[in-house]
Symmetry: C2
Subunit: 354 residues, 2 copies
Amino acid sequence: MTMDTSPQRPRRAKIDDVAELAGVSTKTVSRVLNNEPNVRAETRERVKAAAKKLSYSPDLSARSLAGQRSYMFALFYDTISEGYLSKFQSGALDRCRDRTYHLMVGRFDVEAADVVEQIVQAAERTRVDGVLLLPPLSDHPHIGERLWAAGIACVLIAPSNPQGSMPFIDLDDMNAARTLTGHFLKQGHTRIGFIEGHTAHGAAALRRLGYLAALEDAGLPIDPDLLVQGWFTVASGRLAAERLLALNSPPTAIFASNDEMAAGAEIVIFEHGLSVPRDISVVGFDDSLLASTASPPLTTVRQPIEEMAQGAVDLLIEVNRKGVAGYDVTAESRRYDFELVVRQSTVPGFGEKA
Amino acid sequence: MTMDTSPQRPRRAKIDDVAELAGVSTKTVSRVLNNEPNVRAETRERVKAAAKKLSYSPDLSARSLAGQRSYMFALFYDTISEGYLSKFQSGALDRCRDRTYHLMVGRFDVEAADVVEQIVQAAERTRVDGVLLLPPLSDHPHIGERLWAAGIACVLIAPSNPQGSMPFIDLDDMNAARTLTGHFLKQGHTRIGFIEGHTAHGAAALRRLGYLAALEDAGLPIDPDLLVQGWFTVASGRLAAERLLALNSPPTAIFASNDEMAAGAEIVIFEHGLSVPRDISVVGFDDSLLASTASPPLTTVRQPIEEMAQGAVDLLIEVNRKGVAGYDVTAESRRYDFELVVRQSTVPGFGEKA
DNA sequence: TATACGATTGACAGCGCTGTCATTTTTCAG
DNA sequence: CTGAAAAATGACAGCGCTGTCAATCGTATA
């Protein structure tokens, strides 16, 4: 006489169930699930069918406890723009899904004395297979090192000064700035104001270099009065624009190091009774949401953030595939191309009129 | 004679190491770490000291495999504004850190035929202790149910129509809209235009109700011409504003159901040679980044998104503490207060001048 | 047909913790 | 001071997988 236990939730399928249904050992099921070689094609199919029938999906905790892989990556960040984070995260999740990985997130204070320990510990206790470090964490001199030293793969995203010793993903900020400046030059502008970004931000310096390089390419002199400091905020953009407009010979075009500052500049120009782009052209940088909603919409440069995130995840997967020990860093890093987005804040053919 | 193995990474401390150093069994260490009762104070201290000395932190995979808790929550979403996601995530992470929980994220297509299965499976295989469902996932009729049925706690964030049967966290959208409209009324406005939000968004309907209720409170008639459809985008806000300005008797104030549409309205008003707030006052909703960068900065309503996220995490922790089976839903749900943010797009005392 | 060798498969241990339950120690009434 | 109950602690199994290594199968070669 059998005891029938009270009705309860249908138990989630385990590897043993699949093994039994397929008539093989759990180890063979494991082989199939992990795409290991040396399984007869017929057996492989049988196991796959059984797994599907039971809608089996391996338990991540058990996997990571028993094996080398956790199928989980971590995305760590500190303060970063909402748009950048959400786009990057979205791109990373897309690729993770494709490769059946999962993603955990964490926010850490770069300034904390023990950031490194906090991060390494978080990565170790969760057994993540790799870590994505967003700026400004990617600029920290030790986080990446310590992670690799602990045997955890890690990619620096847009580090200010990429070290050859660690894989990274970034954008060619300098060339983008050079192109944007070139856009002005082609339209005949010769007095181009430049609003610098936050001094602690590596990309800000690169954008400045691109601006200077473009002027040099064109054989134009550099007027120090045309470079004013900003801090990546709308307010700082307004202040900087005020200073540029107050010059004896104000610029006919303004290059702001990001969209926020560009939007601030547009407002100030309007307040001075001038018009963008008729009187003064403006460009931003980043192609944030603000760029398309500003009035007029900003000509800017788009970073392929989602693609960069996907590339970063691919890179982590690749490193894990080869084994965290024997990676060839130099071959892994990648620099992405930007895209010039022309909108109504710059007037095409301005120069031709002259 | 001892063999010295080649130099290698210092091994991460395990519970056995702590037990040995403290001179107790691993089970006692476990008790201390999990704040279980029945450990002598002196023993507790000894264990804590040992753990600290070895900078021990328990392995999450092992924990979740062996015990009931994984110390990991999941934040699942689909399309949602960048600001909402990043603020919510940030708030959730803050609380998770305080309570030594971790957070994984996932993005799912609400429209997919098998969303429910995808989500349940993702939650089961990662053994998360609870799931936070952001809109529009929180509006799906089955996701929450299935999660609870599978024994996984879950909180709906800002669901369009909260079910009594499931814990949720939301904002009193209707009252917020009523307050915002009241702000206009107090300034003496009597013709107030309303730009509606996306019809599929539950909050849009609530905001409309709040607007209508405020007019009724004031004994004002409702003019159907003053209500125009929008879709939560800047472009739709522009279109709606055009229609309002084209009326024989245009409104002296415009209530847009979100900041994007309000910003669009401001641009249109400016293009018509009118001034905000001198000629027409405007309010938005959400207090997004755009609200403070629009020109002029928008009077709007702020949602305490971070706090709501913290509340949601607390709720999950609470449910887990009591056991997922015996929760009292009605006691858990919580409605948060909004905050009126007055900026330069509305003119205080407008009415008094009359 | 017999032998060797690679391809395929399975037995079994164990990853680092916690749940269960037995055992020891302490406490306190009588 | 004794016994019983409560408090404190530990022994041990096992969570669901994968790594190791031994066993078995298939087949090409002599």
